[in-house]
């Protein structure tokens, strides 16, 4: 079905604009038209459909659900809910405090916050359509692993010591309170009529598309430029054997860049098609998406520099491990991609 967008781009770029498919400009413009139309179409349809389904999921219920879980299940659920729960990054502080003051361990809260920017429905849809289901599945597993392990490390180090005072106090108060089984009851889902769900989905669609369309254009534009102007085989020749140092370089190069997953995925597509090893590509892209300075500045309100520094190091280390592991097993994992 998605072939339609390739035909459309053929027609528009080569017939209407009269570009030559053998030129750099021709392939770049073709890539740009195909990817923007495909992505925007998928976004509109899928955001609406998914929003209909999750209209009744709110943070209070998610919190109560995680609260009732055993610690290790907690990391898994924290990260899983981070992936599916809609929430705007400007809400991360209230969310962080809401979880912390309910006695949820710092690591579980951070598993939620780490995974949240990496995985969302938009990223999954785009990956699926551009790079196939195998890659999408690997990306989701890796995104959750980054959150889960990051959280576990924080708790192992008892990192809640380095919260700002007021947050640490709120956590201790809640964590020290006697807990009875079944105390954290999950509130009932709000009953919603279809009209209410439709309204929610419509608002959600308007809000998300309004926020990310620029990122899509920038991301696809960069991807298109890479696609047309980096000579085929350049990455393969220079970095193709997954030299070990290419992974840390990629992770550090992604740091100062800040984009959301939507903008990065078309770039990822281009890099992989040009022969950059998948692990190196992932290290670069996850670093761009998950470690962002605006987010760190926000977290400064509830954390000391020491804790922020620690989180930063943990994230970087995680991206490098991901890069190395995937480079090592990638040829076997993505055969035929």
């Amino acid at each position: 079905m998605l072939d339609f967008f390739t035909y459309f781009a053929n027609w528009l770029a080569y017939t209407v604009f009269g570009l030559d498919p053998a030129t750099r400009l021709g392939t770049s413009i073709h890539f740009f038209i195909e990817d923007t139309t495909k992505i925007l179409f998928l976004l509109v349809v899928m955001i609406y459909v998914i929003a209909l389904a999750r209209a009744a999921l709110d943070l209070e219920r998610v919190r109560a659900y995680i609260q009732g879980k055993h610690r290790f299940a907690g990391y898994l659920f924290g990260s899983g809910f981070g992936a599916i729960t809609p929430f705007c990054s400007c809400s991360s502080i209230p969310l962080f405090l809401g979880f912390t003051s309910a006695g949820i361990p710092l690591g579980i809260t951070m598993a939620f916050l780490f995974t949240s920017p990496i995985i969302n429905e938009v990223a999954v849809i785009m990956l699926w359509s551009l790079l196939g289901w195998k890659f999408t599945l690997a990306y989701v597993v890796i995104g959750m692993a980054v959150g889960i392990f990051g959280g576990m490390i924080l708790d192992t180090l008892k990192a809640e010591r380095w919260l700002k005072d007021f947050a640490a106090k709120a956590y201790q108060k809640a964590a020290g309170a006697p807990r009875h089984p079944g105390e954290a009851e999950v509130p009932q889902a709000r009953k919603m009529t279809f009209a209410e769900r439709h309204q929610f989905a419509k608002d959600e669609l308007k809000e998300i598309v309004g926020r990310i369309w620029k990122w899509v254009l920038i991301g696809v534009g960069l991807g298109a430029a890479l696609h047309g102007f980096v000579p085929d085989g350049w990455f393969a020749e220079n970095l193709g054997s997954g030299q070990w140092w290419s992974v840390p370089v990629a992770a550090f190069a992604g740091l100062p860049l800040y984009s959301n997953a939507t903008g990065v995925i078309p770039v990822m597509e281009s890099l992989i098609m040009k022969g950059l090893p998948v692990g190196t590509t992932l290290a670069f892209c996850m670093s761009t998406v998950a470690a962002s300075f605006p987010e760190f500045i926000m977290l400064k309100q509830v954390m000391t520099f020491r804790l922020l520094g620690l989180i930063f190091v943990i994230l970087l280390a995680n991206f490098m491990v991901v890069g190395w592991v995937i480079n090592a097993i990638g040829p076997w994992l993505f055969a035929g991609l």
Partner: protein, 78 residues
């Protein structure tokens, strides 16, 4: 006179929320005070997890989005 508190750590949506409450109030010819609460400790006390949120007299009446026109009119009714 009603006093509204808009809770949020200073994102654009919180700004919009405060402005729309003031605008609707002046359309209805009412004077209201709108205070912006950006201190995370205070927001935590209100137990709000998604911002922007709105409180009147210390009670949270809305959270998670920019309230629409009708909703604000509802709050301003005597």
């Amino acid at each position: 006179m009603k006093t509204f508190e808009v809770l949020g750590t200073g994102c654009k949506k919180c700004q919009t929320t405060a402005e729309s409450i003031e605008r609707v109030a002046s359309e209805l010819g009412q004077t209201v005070t709108v205070e912006k609460v950006t201190d995370p400790a205070k927001i935590m006390e209100y137990q709000v997890m998604s911002t922007p949120a709105v409180a009147i007299n210390g009670e949270v009446i809305h959270s998670g989005s920019v309230p629409d026109h009708e909703k604000i009119v509802g709050w301003l009714k005597p």
